[in-house]
């Protein structure tokens, strides 16, 4: 069966238009910035509770952490940690210590600030965050790393110890789902750092000696 010439021409024009549309759509979507809000659930650790009444202060930079990065290789990215950081650390510290008090304000620079409600104050911060795409790393997966900085102060504001914990996460990723892969890798990096904090926090030398002094003070009184 032969098609009429006008129908044939229309079909050709339509296919050209469709091809052009798909071509430009692909180009445009490749240029679009990648905005991610980290969401998802993280488990609550099953660890022995440290018998300390701890105050925790989440600085604004920690609670509202947003990472932005633009480069020729990966394009423009904005990764918003959303509620994830604070939610996870609340659950983490809640399972690590017998009692946790959230401190809305805390300034260790003010000498002699006394906080009678808690035996110590813990301040988490994010020092560094980074991610790699397969295009940059040459490996077949997306990866993310987070460097957390934990500072423990005594109730008077003197630094007891400062500990840096790095969490890693990776995700295999799927075609056209790079944002999802980076989000998954980031969640796993938070989870990885949390595991180390939960297991190794009370094994830190400075913590052990501070804890002994707390016990001595309690037994003496």
């Amino acid at each position: 069966m032969k098609l009429r010439p006008d129908i044939k021409d229309n079909a050709k024009t339509a296919s050209k238009r469709l091809f052009s549309f798909l071509f430009f759509f692909t180009l445009l979507s490749a240029c679009a910035p990648s905005d991610i809000v980290i969401e998802g659930s993280l488990p609550v650790p099953m660890v022995k509770k440290i018998p300390v009444r701890i105050g925790v202060h989440y600085p604004d930079a920690f609670a509202n952490f947003v990472h932005t990065e633009t480069s020729k290789e990966i394009g423009a990215w904005q990764i918003d940690f959303g509620e994830q950081n604070v939610d996870f650390f609340r659950a983490l510290f809640g399972s690590m210590f017998t009692e946790v008090v959230i401190l809305e304000k805390w300034d260790s620079d003010i000498a002699g600030v006394s906080n009678e409600d808690t035996q110590g104050v813990l301040v988490p911060q994010i020092k560094k965050y980074g991610f790699l795409t397969p295009f940059v790393s040459g490996l077949g997966f997306y990866s993310a790393s987070i460097e957390y900085d934990l500072t423990l102060f005594d109730a008077r504001g003197a630094t007891i110890f400062n500990w840096t914990v790095v969490g890693y996460g990776k995700s295999e990723g799927k075609a056209f789902a790079k944002e999802e892969a980076v989000e998954q890798a980031t969640l796993l990096a938070i989870r990885d750092a949390g595991a180390r904090i939960a297991i190794e926090f009370d094994k830190q030398k400075a913590f052990k000696s501070w804890f002994r002094s707390l016990e001595k003070a309690e037994n003496g009184s």
Binding site: L139, K170, A195, R196
Partner: protein
């Protein structure tokens, strides 16, 4: 006559697909102790993660779990993500036990032994390995335009899937043995306007071979 010739050609093509797409497997077993599973007891398959490129992918352990849960003698397999969440942080990639000795220490942590007992998990099988491309060659080019597209050429690649399962008996607190599986297969893709793939799936062959042998190992039949 023409129809018969077509059917003959099609049949020949199917046979070529099946023969060329095959992967050969070799399985080895080392047993350190007697094993067995009573009704209700389960096992968990955990992929060893090393944060390198060559680590066990979740899709492989999922494939093994599907294979073990099916068939004439299905086993109860606890999903690895559920297990890792329930036992967080003890089975996270960088802190998980690497020997039966470390497992004994882990069982002394509060709640771990009780949770294993209440979950009725008898065995942990640690899965290590990866599927890697060992050889490739040939060329094929494809073009697409508004008036259509097509491929021309021929290419092949050979893959090696090498995996090992180390089985820990959680009742006896010892390593019960090891099973290894090695599969190789060559895949082809021929471009005759349409790309015709003839795929060998050594990863899938290794998964099924390892799962079958693991079932034999655990149930002793």
């Amino acid at each position: 006559m023409a129809h018969k010739l077509k059917a003959y050609r099609l049949g020949l093509l199917v046979i070529v697909f099946i023969v060329a797409g095959c992967a050969s497997s070799r399985v080895e077993e080392f047993r350190a102790t007697e094993t067995g599973m009573v009704s209700g007891e389960g096992l968990v398959l955990l992929g060893r993660a090393s944060f390198s490129d060559n680590e066990t992918k979740e899709s492989f352990t999922d494939c093994m779990a599907d294979s073990l849960e099916g068939g004439d003698r299905p086993l109860r397999v606890v999903p690895q993500n559920t297990f890792r969440d329930n036992f967080y942080p003890w089975f996270e990639p960088r802190v998980e036990p690497t020997s039966a000795e470390e497992l004994k220490k882990l069982f002394m942590e509060p709640g771990v032994k009780d949770l294993i007992s209440s979950s009725n998990i008898r065995y942990i099988a640690w899965i290590e390995g990866d599927t890697v491309r060992v050889d490739d060659g040939g060329t094929m080019s494809c073009t697409i335009g508004p008036w259509g597209g097509g491929c021309l050429g021929f290419s092949y690649w050979e893959e090696d899937a090498s995996y090992k399962a180390t089985i820990w008996d959680l009742e006896k607190m010892i390593s019960a043995g090891q099973i290894s599986s090695d599969s190789r297969g060559t895949s082809y893709i021929a471009g005759v306007i349409l790309p015709i793939p003839i795929l060998a799936r050594p990863g899938n062959a290794a998964c099924n071979a390892l799962a079958d042998q693991l079932r034999e190992f655990l149930t002793g039949s």
